[in-house]
């Protein structure tokens, strides 16, 4: 793999960039791999990458129905944070954040991780209490967050309206290390690194069946023929239930649309990411200048990557209330992704009822920020067959035991 650098770009410029090699190979599938990962999104590619890097397992194929990075990796709002309340969540998301901090150098691909800071606004007393609790939890988890007062919020985000008539800002949970990254680049960077390790990334190759014998996986059937494997990792957010169905088990997952939109680009006006959960919307500004906006999921089971319009209205309303200056900006594009919603809204990294099949799914609306940590933990699970500490609490057995990891503590209701 030729290294990327400013010198390489300059060298290539002199010959009109005709000498760049492919970022990743486009091979024919082999008949057998030690590990097959289904899904060449961020999580699947990161799983493959850390299988190679941490465990020396490189006879790996990553099988993708469409184009790599084309699922939720390429259609999210790119927010990265680790200020989670529950210990298992904070651990894996903070691992992800730490890996993001060095990912461009690790992959030799600029993923533009931008630790510009992230604010979660508190607009009710209930939210104030919730975020103060999170600050205390984060303190003990080794995740640096702080509670900041409204004046500091205004200082960090000059375009915000902190004293709106309905839900004035009472303060915020601030994670200075949080931020954004260029979502496509994360997938591309991992893909390039996987390919350089000799792994096969096979795009446009739909999996049509999973073959098992004696309770363990044998291989998969695909649009490009049968492929045998020693172990199988299913990492296909949005379609987790479909693949689980091929292997003969059900998951505590429903597929729903999550929508997002961007405005036309304007000059830089907001350096931090702002999430406003009471009014329900979040916004950041991309390096290109677009305001990147998201809200909550649609409610119904949906595989269309399109959502219902009323949710866009609700989100935009919430953000105009928070940032009145966006009222005269224009929505440039809206889209949707299909997310896995689990029974407790936390992810699943787990062995399954079928031997040597492992699932990584259920990241709901928060998958992008977890990619490196998720891949790291999943690689360990697949390589060893048992979860390491990062994945230990995210097993499927928790649904049987009633041992949930619930981040939605704000769901409680005040008198």
């Amino acid at each position: 793999m030729k290294r990327y650098s400013v010198f390489a770009v300059a060298r290539e410029a002199l010959r009109w960039h005709t000498g760049w090699e492919r970022a990743w190979r486009s091979p024919q599938p082999k008949s057998r791999y030690d590990v097959v990962v289904i899904g060449a999104g961020g999580h699947g590619l990161a799983t493959a990458y850390y299988l190679g890097k941490n465990f020396g397992i490189t006879n790996v194929a990553v099988i993708e129905k469409g184009w790599l990075g084309g699922g939720n990796t390429g259609r999210n709002t790119t927010i990265i944070r680790s200020n989670y309340l529950q210990d298992p969540s904070a651990a894996i998301y903070d691992k992800a954040l730490q890996l993001y901090e060095g990912l461009s150098q690790d992959l030799n691909y600029n993923v533009m991780f931008s630790p510009r800071g992230l604010l979660m606004l508190a607009q009710t007393h209930h939210e104030v209490r919730g975020y103060k609790r999170t600050v205390h939890a984060n303190l003990l988890q080794g995740v640096a967050t702080e509670w900041i007062e409204p004046a500091k919020v205004k200082e960090l985000v000059p375009i915000i309206n902190i004293d709106g008539p309905r839900y004035p800002v009472l303060g915020a949970l601030y994670q200075a290390r949080g931020g954004t990254a260029r979502h496509d680049a994360v997938a591309w960077g991992y893909a390039r690194a996987c390919s350089a390790m000799g792994m096969d990334i096979i795009q446009q190759c739909e999996v049509t069946g999973i073959r098992t014998a004696n309770g363990a996986v044998q291989g998969i059937d695909t649009a490009r023929g049968a492929i045998d494997c020693g172990k199988l990792a299913i990492v296909v957010a949005g379609h987790s239930s479909v693949l689980a169905g091929m292997a003969g088990f059900r998951l505590p997952i429903e597929s729903m649309a999550l929508q997002a939109l961007v405005s036309e680009p304007i000059k830089p006006c907001m350096d931090v990411v702002v999430m406003a959960n009471t009014v329900h919307g979040y916004m950041s500004q991309s390096d290109k200048g677009e305001m990147v906006i998201g809200g909550g999921t649609d409610g119904f089971n949906n595989y269309t990557q399109r959502g219902s319009w009323q949710h866009v209205e609700e989100t935009v309303r919430a953000l105009i209330e928070t940032f009145p200056m966006i009222s005269r900006l224009k929505m440039l594009r809206q889209w949707g992704g299909i997310v896995d919603m689990t029974g407790d809204r936390s992810p699943i990294l787990s062995a399954t009822p079928v031997g040597n099949i492992f699932v990584n799914c259920g990241w709901g609306t928060g998958g992008f920020k977890a990619i490196p940590g998720s891949g790291w933990a999943m690689a360990e699970l697949v390589a060893k067959g048992t979860p390491g500490p990062l994945a230990a609490e995210f097993g499927l057995n928790r649904f049987r035991e009633g041992r949930f990891i619930d981040e939605s503590v704000a769901a409680g209701v005040a008198h």
């Binding site: 379609h239 239930s241 479909v242 059900r250 998951l251 505590p252 997952i253 429903e254 597929s255 409610g299 119904f300 089971n301 949906n302 595989y303 269309t304 219902s308 319009w309 009323q310 029974g343 649904f399 049987r400």
Partner: protein, 117 residues
Amino acid sequence: MLILTCPHCGVTAEETELALGGEAHLKRYGPGDSDEQFEAYMFARKNPKGVHFERWRHAYGCGKWFIAARCTVTLEVFGTYPAQTARPPADLLAAIRAKRPSADLSDWDAATPEDAQ
């Protein structure tokens, strides 16, 4: 935005009039049932890429719960019927089979509700 016809009051309602209730025809398990049964009732979901039987409430209308058979890929609604039943109406099942021969309706192959459970 979806439109669904409430089988109770006959109103063709905008999605904003409706509240969602998730997968329909779940059998409730309770005290005396196994951990496995209870887990399956509470969490295991079909989540089909295709025909989905799901509960809706005409929340800002007549207030009644009903069930819709809807395709999660095309969003086509094959029909709606009151929630006060253990199985989908036979004519609806026939209509779905006619339109979507590949749809998995195996839960409803049995002749009676008792058999179906």
